[in-house]
Amino acid sequence: MTERPDPTVSPPLPPGPPAQEFPREATAVADLPTAPTVTAHPMSFTGQSGEYFRIWIVNIALTVVTLGLYLPWARVRQRQYFYGHTWLDGQNFEYTASPLALLRGYLIVGAFFLAYTLATNLQFQGWEVVAGVIGVLFVALYPWLVMKSLRFLAVSTTHRGLRFRHHGRSVGAYTSYGLANVAAVLSGGLALPWAWFMQRRYQVENAAYGSARATFRGDVGDFYVIGLTGLAVAIGGGVLLAVPVIALLVGLGVLGDFDVVGGLPGPGVIAGIAVLYAGLLALYAVAWQYVRAATLRLVLNRVEVGGVVRTQATFSPWRLVWIGVSNTVVQLLTLGLATPWAAVRRTRYVMSGVQVRSIQSLDAFCADFTPEESALGEAATELLDINLGF
């Protein structure tokens, strides 16, 4: 079976908002019996928070007891649980990374991170050189690390016995993660949605399932809409929040008694600052979660694999924002113990709103020769919190 079918056979899926695609597709199929049948396969997630909690806490405890050496095994098991419980068309996904390969990466990245932290905090003799070299190295290697990480993550993901792959190359990585980020900073954020676009396109266009390549049909305008919505949420919320807090402070007449020498500011000021702090924190979370959720939905609605498969997302970004924010609150209140519940809750909601639409059976893909990938990039992205976007 060919992965790139004859373009004349390839069906033009109806454009338009994805939420409306289902009914329209049904009529299209009914009206045009000659058009290829589109089958929708829903994704599902079968993980249980109780079960995952036990895996999570036992693996954290083992990591602590082994002074961190078990960390790669813990991460692999936790990820294997999520991949293994994600089902598509009767088969589950699998995460196949080798913990030993990750351990090597963790040790290298961890050593650099520790050296940098110690140098900048303690400022021992010659610290500028150490911190400078590590800093320059990190900035110079950042796009390369992202590329390595994407490649490793793809090769470590299996479905139906076939590996995913990422064919990303350095040139593309330095354009979308180097140049685009520099442009975003220099333009004062104006080019930020463009950078997101470049990065998602780099991620998707180079992805492949077996030998079937993925294509990205999104355009930069969509990302500007998301960015502006996020900005509007932040500014609007900030104004709504600042007015009552300032009014409260002025009303209490406490702005004047902020006395550094006398030690503590008055309780009114402390309460005001606390409210403002919590509010800004929530606002930041909402705006950021919105951008994340909307981007995820947008990207999933713009991916095509091998010309025969499209992913589709019907979950609501605002509902995902609510889940993200309420998850954070519950996690804070339970001192982190609700983390497994939060992760399962979010994944279950996302997966219940993702479908794969295919004009060809999902069992007709072919393998591609996959060389092993180094885990260094993966370790770097995890330990240094490099955001890959989802």
């Binding site: 895996i55 098991r77 419980h85 393998a367």
Partner: protein, 367 residues
Amino acid sequence: MTEPDPAHLTLSGVYFDGRTSRDRAATLEVSGGTLVLRAEGEPETRWETAQLGIDPPIPGIRRVLKFPGGARFETGDDAGVSALEARLGRNRGLGRVRRLESRWGTALGAVALMILFAWGFVAFGLPALARTAATATPDAVLATFDRETVELLEGQNYVGPTRLSAARQAQLQRVFRQVTSRVGGSSPYRLLLRDGNAPDAPFALGANAFALPGGTVVMTDQLVRLARDDRELAGVLAHEAGHVIRRHTLAGVYQGLGLSLLTVAVTGDLVSAGTFAAAVPAALLRNGYSRAAETESDEVAARFLLREYGTTRPLRNLLARLETLDRNADEHSVQGGSRVEDLLQTHPGTAERIRHLRGLEEQARRR
């Protein structure tokens, strides 16, 4: 299904050849060291158990058996695969991990272990590590720290040149030498007298004294004027010398560093809502550490005062005057604050410190 004898068992599941995404219903028959795989539409294949790869078990997920060349067999028959695993001696370590994961008892044990560990680390581990690191830090580093801090204080106009007379300065230096020779420690002590209300200062230090890790003690003119006699100032200087001996400042830096590393490790990232939220408990912990340091230094000062003057009253009075900024105040002018207020303060509440110093004096008298 599972056979009672693990040497002979038949597993049913799905087969993938590793070249296409096609799934085929299949059975795998194990007898002794041989495996026979029968997949629909495929010729029968035989393997040795030695060629077989068995993925470690993950709760609730089908077991995966891998063959050379990328082929795989997936089955829901966990008991059968576990029996095979046990017979072949595979995945022993992660099999044990899986047993831990499958019980609520061990999970709750792990929770208890984590709480114990976190508490032990924050209460004992981190301070001990910081103290060790501070003791091991070479004197040259401490001297650099002092020099740079003083340069910063003077460069940014936090302090100005002292306005005390030369005679008064010389007298205070004598008191300082007397204090440091009695209190002990090998640091190159140095007393800097400075104006705490310098005209261009970003904010006024006012009546204040503080110790840098290398042995430099800075005392402001305002504090000197607040004191009624030199015994009170000797008490403050002994307190600051105590910070130097115990290397509190440096230990504090290390503790802060450890806490931020810990925060990053726990929340998993550098800048996010989680990290900011974690900053509040971290700041409270930091305060707790510095309260412990204040108490320790008060004890050093108390030992000095009790030996020299037989009482800790001079320091108690000066503390009260610092708190009220009233030259006529004494130790009885300070009332204890609320507990919440105490918790939020960097230093132990003044009332609490005065009580502690009085307690130390009574203790010494009883002996």
